[in-house]
Symmetry: C2
Subunit: 336 residues, 2 copies
């Protein structure tokens, strides 16, 4: 059995990675349609030895499509996802358009695949920083209920898109040549700098990115009451998001017990032997599908707490790979 697949937003960083991951994982594709807004339409993307042209995204493009991946801005998803569903496609959407909708499953296959049952045509793919967090939290939650989570993120520029990667490179080159870094994508220079600012600010002082990390983690973990606080920061790294995480649990969990649970958990790679220089960095995560966890230690500042460090490729597990894994889970469960 093979399927007609569409990728909307195929010209972007996540869209291109999606096409690569579909090929790598040998997804049962019969026809692959690549779609994008006018800006990238016309350029080609390699798939199974062929160069596929990106077509302009239009509602009619979804006729005959079984499964559509959306890697588009939220406004684009809001407009076109309902069209794709109307044409009969099941949609896995990367934008934040549907994530908080109680009728839409928000899925990380290692954590909550069961919520795919009864989907109504749209499945939301969580935010990159949320995905790697819940993959690391889930094995801990099965050892002891989580009481409170504190997260500081170190997020790479590819999370913003290809133009941000270009901006980092251009600004960095300029600074090395003694010139000024000219910000265009970000409000301030990102070369040799960092910004405690991802997405828009709300009146309460939090950014939308921080709010997403809180609300999405609660929804995926089925813990609407979970106490969680985040500060999200953009750093001058191209690929790979990192997170410093503090978790209080209802009962004490030994670092070694958590380490063993992680080692058994799907999609996790434990890199935790710091005395021998073994801990994850963004460069270790880039190009991989696992969530890397290291620096697991006791938190002596609370009765029952652990501290650890989580790194993942934000374009792959944080976006494309997770989307394709959702699709694979739909197939396994006969939900397509």
């Amino acid at each position: 059995m093979t399927y007609n697949i569409a990728v909307a937003g195929a010209g972007g960083a996540v869209g291109r990675t999606l096409v690569r991951v579909l090929e790598e994982r040998d997804f049962p594709v019969s026809r692959l349609v690549l779609l994008a807004t006018s800006r990238t339409a016309g350029t080609g993307v390699d798939f199974r030895g062929e160069k596929l042209a990106i077509e302009p995204v239009r509602p009619e493009a979804f006729v005959g499509i079984d499964l559509a991946f959306f890697a588009t801005p939220t406004e684009v998803s809001r407009g076109l996802v309902p069209e794709a569903v109307r044409q009969g496609a099941v949609v896995v959407d990367k934008s934040s358009a549907y994530r908080e909708d109680p009728e839409v499953p928000l899925v990380v296959p290692e954590v909550n695949p069961e919520v795919l049952e009864g989907h109504r045509g749209v499945i939301a793919n969580p935010n990159c920083s949320t995905i790697q967090l819940v993959v690391a939290l889930s094995p801990l939650a099965s050892l002891a209920p989580l009481k409170r989570v504190v997260v500081a993120t170190y997020q790479s520029v590819s999370g913003t898109g290809r133009e941000a990667v270009e901006e980092l490179r251009l600004q960095t080159r300029a600074v090395l040549e003694g010139k000024q870094a000219v910000p265009q994508v970000y409000p301030r220079p990102i070369a040799f700098n960092l910004l405690p600012h991802i997405d828009a600010f709300s009146a309460d002082g939090y950014t939308k990115e921080e709010r997403k990390l809180v609300t999405e983690t609660r929804k995926i973990m089925g813990r609407p009451d979970l106490a969680i606080s985040a500060t999200t920061v953009r750093v001058p790294v191209e690929v790979g998001h990192s997170e410093a995480v503090w978790v209080e649990t209802e009962r004490p969990v030994e670092p070694e017990t958590y380490r063993e649970a992680l080692a058994q958990a799907p999609g996790v790679l434990v890199m935790d032997d710091p005395g021998r220089g073994v801990y994850p960095t963004p460069l270790d995560a880039a190009g991989r599908d696992e969530v890397l966890v290291g620096r697991i230690r006791r938190d002596p500042s609370v009765a029952s707490g652990l501290v650890f460090w989580v790194v993942a490729d934000n374009l792959r597990k944080g976006a494309a790979t997770n989307a394709v894994q959702i699709a694979e889970e739909l197939l396994t469960r006969g939900l397509l």
Copy 2:
């Protein structure tokens, strides 16, 4: 009244900044002696329009010196600070050699200048990441007792020294040219990457840097029992350390109340209007003496908590400026 001053470690990043800060703040210097190990001895440093040669550091160099600033590695301080004191100098030492010694005052002038009274010749200058943290915590502690502090750091390479700044630039240039980043100073590439690893690892999984942040904060704030946990991370930034901070207090403190207390506090610059793009970044802090604080907001994950973001120039307030401020305080109190 003027004084004979020595700067040991004058060839390094902090030593050079010390000489600049002494000049900027018009410190009452009669004679300035610059000292360093053989590697940088012989090179010159500008001071008040003159190029002063760096002399090799030897015990005899401290004869006739009233005040000696040490910006040397811990082992060098351990060997030479007692010599300088024996020769009659008062020493302000930047290394970690004496910081935990209960007989040695560990001082941030905005926070605990009174402990300078009764010093025995050595005053310890705290670690860079500690200084900016306690300057931000102190006004909050005067509003409500602190219960627990959680800190994630984003520390620039200049904290390691000039050779690390050079390594970041060389590696960055190499990566932009499609070449390999070759690590020498750090165990892994730092260009477009980050390392959750500053200083050596202990058996409990924490680094020495993390331990310093805990023990020094407790000592300076006079709170040996303070619950505090840190993750310290090296980022590809040249100058300026940033910290994401969560504080639980015994009583609720409104963000606005803390903001007002900070605005009155010495050595602090509040940059907190995120809706208008006002928040501190390392580039804002570089070259300044204040500790910049922004992104102050309520922490809804605890009964009484605040979250904020603290940035400072690690070579200036985190090192040289704090040392010179200690010396100024010694003069004011007639303790030299």
